[in-house]
């Protein structure tokens, strides 16, 4: 009974004409109606094709004028997928904007400042950044956040884009993306897995050496695995292998894990076989060195229990987490040992159980307990792999990462409480704050595309943090609330000195020079007496876009300032948002590899980093006369970077 294509086409032309002929002041209303007609067409492939055929006329009608899509050269490919999923009518305009880009790429429409090659580049980036949705809408269809009509619209758009820009044309982009993720080593690897899943269907000769190696690491890590095809058949072969061949398998599997951070089902199957039958191979399959091996031997029975009872295909990344945890000798820390032994016996609260089940992004069955234990191993093993996902919860992610590095016992202890009671209790200046009693956190619609530890903790941490901030602004009016909240929230690792560039009473930036001098004197080895940082420093930074315009505030941790291999002094930091590679304007582009970064770190030249910081904690007992020795030229350079970027938004006192 639905409208025919020609009826919908006629309606589009009608509303397009109404929009085009409307006086400027009456256009907004007609724009909305036109978009609602475009939505009707976007419900099947023929309609989508019709929209694409008419996109030049739609563009010329002025549909994009006065909207954020007006100037194609200013569009950001990384924002496309999010906008496509934000609901009508924004998603409709976004869809039409991609169709316009496609028309430019195909030479059917000429736009000033946007040559066809730039449009093709843009669309390829769109497909890469939106890869999860571009190549499979299964995840979207299952998410009740999105209506079927919106999912259909998005998938039809991507289908059309893929027809014109097929997968092989995306390979260089995908390779770069894969290498970035591998260097950054997040705990959640869904994205890279989705990409590799698609690549394995391509003819192998299209893939270059490194790309083929990444695909193989996941789907055919050894010749035997390739021959077996599935982990099940692979496991059946293992008992028939001679010892030397088994050891070779173990080494090959673990080497791939070391190189990529990715665990295949074959490796899990091998490890489980080894734990049952060939315990001598376990440390090899986990790539343990002497330290790790010692920890394994000391806790062999427990480690075997973890491997056999808690690690399954649905959380196989836990193998990497376990290896890294053993390598950190964490089980030999009394607090961790007791806490972890208790965690494996914890009876989960029904709400937590439900959340963990909802958070299972793998196609395999996974119990809540398995998810939690595997996830805990990953967070303990990869403290810098924690991410905030699509939630505005950078503080919570930063806390989990910091505790995993410096207070793993505390982290697991908190996890036990929260997982069993669906509650968390914190102290703030002598008062108790219970998350269960707090109504509002920073986030209203929680995105559960997170690691299991974050799924359990972040909803609670977010509320506690928000409540602390509220109380702080009442208790200490006129002072930056972070000064009192950070030590209460993160713990005693936070230094007692605090500096902020902003004076909330006078609404302006003050003493910026002193701020930079203390920053250098406290953290930069050239000026602090040659010392490393003892604990990570939670710092607030201004986020700026590629035009250096102020976008907002963000929480990160400064981990170290050291000389990169090329001798440059760089700040290495933990950034909990998922994009390690960014463009902050003024040619400030954080990197995640190639400049001495460890997995999970981002880095910038020290001065560029300092130019984005607005608050930090420091140790005032150790400053002495060091701030005065920071060169004036350095301070002036940073001040200029600050004033010409976020500083434009503020009054300088």
């Amino acid at each position: 009974m639905a409208l025919t294509l020609s009826e919908r086409e006629a309606r589009l032309y009608e509303s397009l004409a109404a929009f085009e002929h409307a006086p400027l002041f009456a256009r907004e209303e007609k724009r909305k109606r036109l978009l609602s007609q475009a939505d009707l067409l976007a419900q099947d492939a023929a309609g989508m094709a019709h929209l694409y055929e008419n996109i030049a006329a739609i563009h010329r009608s002025g549909l994009f004028a006065g909207t954020p899509w007006e100037d194609p050269s200013r569009l950001v490919p990384g924002l496309v997928a999010g906008t496509l999923l934000s609901g009508p009518a924004g998603s409709t305009l976004e869809m039409l904007s991609e169709l316009r880009m496609l028309a430019v790429a195909e030479g059917r429409l000429a736009l000033p400042g946007c040559p066809p090659e730039a449009a093709r580049h843009f669309l390829r980036q769109v497909l890469v950044y939106g890869f999860e949705y571009a190549f499979s809408t299964e995840e979207l269809s299952e998410n009740e956040r999105y209506t079927r009509t919106e999912v259909r619209k998005v998938s039809l758009l991507f289908d059309l884009l893929k027809q014109h820009l097929p997968l092989p044309s995306l390979l260089p982009y995908l390779k770069e993306e894969i290498e970035t993720i591998i260097a950054h080593r997040p705990v959640v690897v869904t994205r890279i897995k989705r990409i590799l899943e698609q690549l394995q269907h391509l003819p192998p000769d299209l893939l270059d050496g490194p790309l083929r190696a990444y695909v193989e690491a996941l789907f055919a890590p050894t010749p035997l695995a390739q021959k077996a095809g599935t982990a099940h058949y692979y496991a059946e072969q293992l008992p028939h292998l001679p010892d030397a061949a088994l050891e070779q398998e173990a080494q090959a599997l673990s080497q791939q894990m070391l190189d990529t951070g990715l665990v295949s089902t074959f490796q899990l199957a091998f490890l489980q076989y080894a734990a049952r039958e060939r315990t001598a191979l376990v440390p090899i399959a986990l790539a343990l060195n002497a330290h790790g091996r010692a920890d394994y031997e000391r806790h062999q029975a427990f480690v075997h229990q973890l491997i056999l009872s808690f690690l399954v295909p649905g959380n196989k990344q836990g193998v990497y987490g376990l290896a890294r945890t053993l390598q950190r000798n964490l089980f030999s820390q009394k607090t961790v040992w007791h806490a972890f032994s208790r965690l494996v016996k914890a009876r989960l609260h029904p709400v937590i159980r439900e959340r963990l089940e909802e958070g299972n992004l793998s196609p395999f069955a996974l119990t809540a307990e398995q998810a939690l234990i595997g996830g805990t191993l990953c967070v303990l093993g990869q403290p810098l792999g924690v991410r905030q996902g699509n939630n505005p919860t950078c503080q919570s992610a930063r806390g989990i990462s910091m505790w995993s590095r410096h207070a793993p016992g505390k982290l697991i202890n908190l996890l036990i409480d929260t997982a069993t009671t669906n509650n968390a209790v914190f102290r703030y200046e002598g008062e108790l704050i219970e998350s269960a009693g707090v109504q509002e956190g920073l986030t209203t619609a929680f995105d559960f595309k997170l690691d299991p530890v974050s799924i359990v903790l972040v909803p609670h941490l977010d509320k506690v943090y928000n409540e602390m901030m509220k109380r702080a602004s009442l208790k200490h009016p006129g002072k930056d609330p972070h000064a009192s909240v950070n030590p209460a929230f993160y713990g005693h690792w936070i230094q007692t000195g605090f500096k902020s560039v902003y004076n909330p009473l006078l609404y302006g930036i003050e003493n910026y020079e002193e701020f930079i001098r203390i920053f250098y004197a406290a953290f930069h080895p050239e000026y602090n007496g040659g010392h490393h940082l003892i604990y990570p420093v939670p710092a607030g930074i201004f986020i700026t876009d590629s035009g250096a315009n102020m976008l907002g505030f963000h929480a990160i941790s400064l981990l170290r300032i050291e000389q990169a291999p090329d001798g440059e002094w760089r700040a290495y930091f933990f950034n909990p948002n998922s994009q390690g590679k960014q463009d902050w304007g003024q040619r400030i582009t954080p990197t995640v590899s190639g400049h001495g970064e460890r997995h999970g770190e981002s880095s910038l030249p020290a001065a560029q980093f300092a130019a984005r910081v607005y608050a930090y904690h420091f140790n005032q007992l150790r400053l002495g006369d060091k701030p005065g020795k920071v060169p004036t030229a350095t301070v002036a350079h940073i001040t200029q970077l600050a004033k010409e970027s976020w500083g434009r938004k503020y009054q300088w006192l």
């Binding site: 009456a26 909305k32 609602s36 939505d39 934000s86 009508p88 209203t444």
Partner: protein, 407 residues
């Protein structure tokens, strides 16, 4: 034909219609709009159109309009009705035009006039205190021959001068009086509840006669309506036409458009008068009316105010006499149902519905809290439908009133 129309109040759709038709006009509205008007080359006179009273200086406004050679004033909003009336009194040299405008702005006076002229109205009184409301209920109950223990009669309390349901209280029991009403509501009009189906008309009047009568069927007051009305109401067109003409005669209305609301009596043979306005009705009624009958109803609204227009000239702006359109056009005004919303969701079944026309729903900028709706205003947009079968339209409107478009 008028030298120039003064549009009293700010309405972009009306300005658009005037521009398209090439009719001479000038907009009179608050000076805040001046720079916008200038940017878009809209002829404009800034004026503080505050509540019209004894202190108001319509002569001053007329002077400001003199350079524009204005000779017809058109009220676009409830609050500008007296201003337009005052100007037209000057232009037509007839002081009673202003008095008639007052009729529309004082609901007690309006009711009295209707009663005097022989229209069927409810029992009504002007009240100044809660005590007087209780006494009114005593008398109403008494007249309804209430026995001990029976429910109280229902009645409404509304401000003398407010559009639609702003400040309206529906009182269903004695307890309701103290619970729903407070000192700030007084003075006001109380009137007994009229049973029966409610509907509105839009009667375009020229030289004291109805040039065109539209009947709007309300599916749910303030949420949804469609045009032309279903066969049940259209069957009463002659009765409605006669009653509206009676209203026009009683009020002495010569030009413009009136928007009376009526209730069909229980036996279906009579209609009772609710109230009447003479500005652009809410609910996008004129837009639906124009789509259904194939004319620019906003333009027709404006030109009906022009005493100098000839019959032939007027015909150009109206559908042919006696024309009944084949399709019904209806809309649902969408207001969020949840207290907290974060995004707009268009249901699949809507896009697959052949009667669905389009929508202009606004996407929320982010999660936001929703305050109570006031007087059926501030909705988030409309969803429009069109189709031949009025029963289906009614069904769709009813259904989509309950669909949560915002979640």
């Amino acid at each position: 034909m008028a030298n120039r129309f003064a549009l009293i109040g700010w309405s972009l759709p009306v300005i658009e219609s005037m521009q398209k038709a090439g009719l001479p006009y000038v907009v009179v509205s608050f000076p805040d709009f001046e720079s916008y008007a200038k940017t878009h080359e809209i002829p404009f006179v800034g004026y503080h159109l505050d509540e019209f009273g004894s202190h108001s200086n319509s002569v001053g406004l007329a002077e400001l309009l003199r350079p524009f050679d204005v000779d017809v004033a058109v009220p676009l909003y409830e609050e500008t009705v007296e201003w337009a009336g005052a100007l037209n009194s000057i232009y037509r040299n007839d002081p009673r035009v202003l008095n008639r405008a007052f009729l529309f702005r004082n609901k007690a006076m309006m009711k009295r006039k209707a009663l005097l002229g022989g229209l069927r109205v409810g029992l009504f009184e002007e009240v100044h205190s809660l005590e007087q409301v209780h006494k009114f209920l005593d008398r109403l109950n008494e007249a309804e021959l209430q026995l001990e223990g029976e429910d109280d009669a229902w009645f409404h309390a509304k401000p003398f001068a407010a559009a639609g349901t702003v400040g309206h209280h529906f009182i269903k029991s004695r307890e309701d009086i103290d619970r729903k009403m407070s000192i700030k509501d007084f003075p006001c009009l109380v009137e007994s509840h009229l049973q029966g189906q409610e509907f509105s008309c839009e009667a375009f009047i020229h030289k004291g006669k109805i040039r065109f009568l539209n009947i709007t069927e309300y599916v749910k007051l303030g949420y949804s309506n469609f045009i032309p009305a279903g066969p049940e109401l259209e069957a009463k067109r002659e009765l409605i036409h006669n009653e509206v003409q009676k209203l026009v005669d009683i009020f002495g209305i010569e030009y413009g458009m009136i928007h009376p609301e009526w209730f069909v009596s229980e036996d279906g043979k009579q209609i009772n008068f609710g109230e009447v306005a003479c500005r652009i009705p809410g609910g996008h009624i004129l837009e639906l009316c124009g789509q259904a009958y194939g004319f620019d109803a906003l333009l027709a609204f404006v030109v009906s105010h022009d005493p100098n227009m000839t019959e032939e000239e007027l015909d150009r702006y109206f559908p042919p006499r006696g024309y009944m359109p084949p399709k019904h056009f209806g809309n649902v005004m969408v207001f969020p149902k949840a207290a907290q919303i974060s995004r707009l969701e268009i249901p699949e079944e809507l896009l697959e519905e052949p009667y669905y026309l389009d929508n202009n729903l606004t996407q929320p900028l982010g999660p936001q809290k929703i305050n109570a709706r006031e007087g059926f205003g501030n909705h988030f947009g409309t969803v429009n439908f069109a189709g031949e079968d009025p029963a289906r339209i009614r069904e769709l409107l009813k259904h989509y009133e309950d669909v949560p478009f915002y979640v």
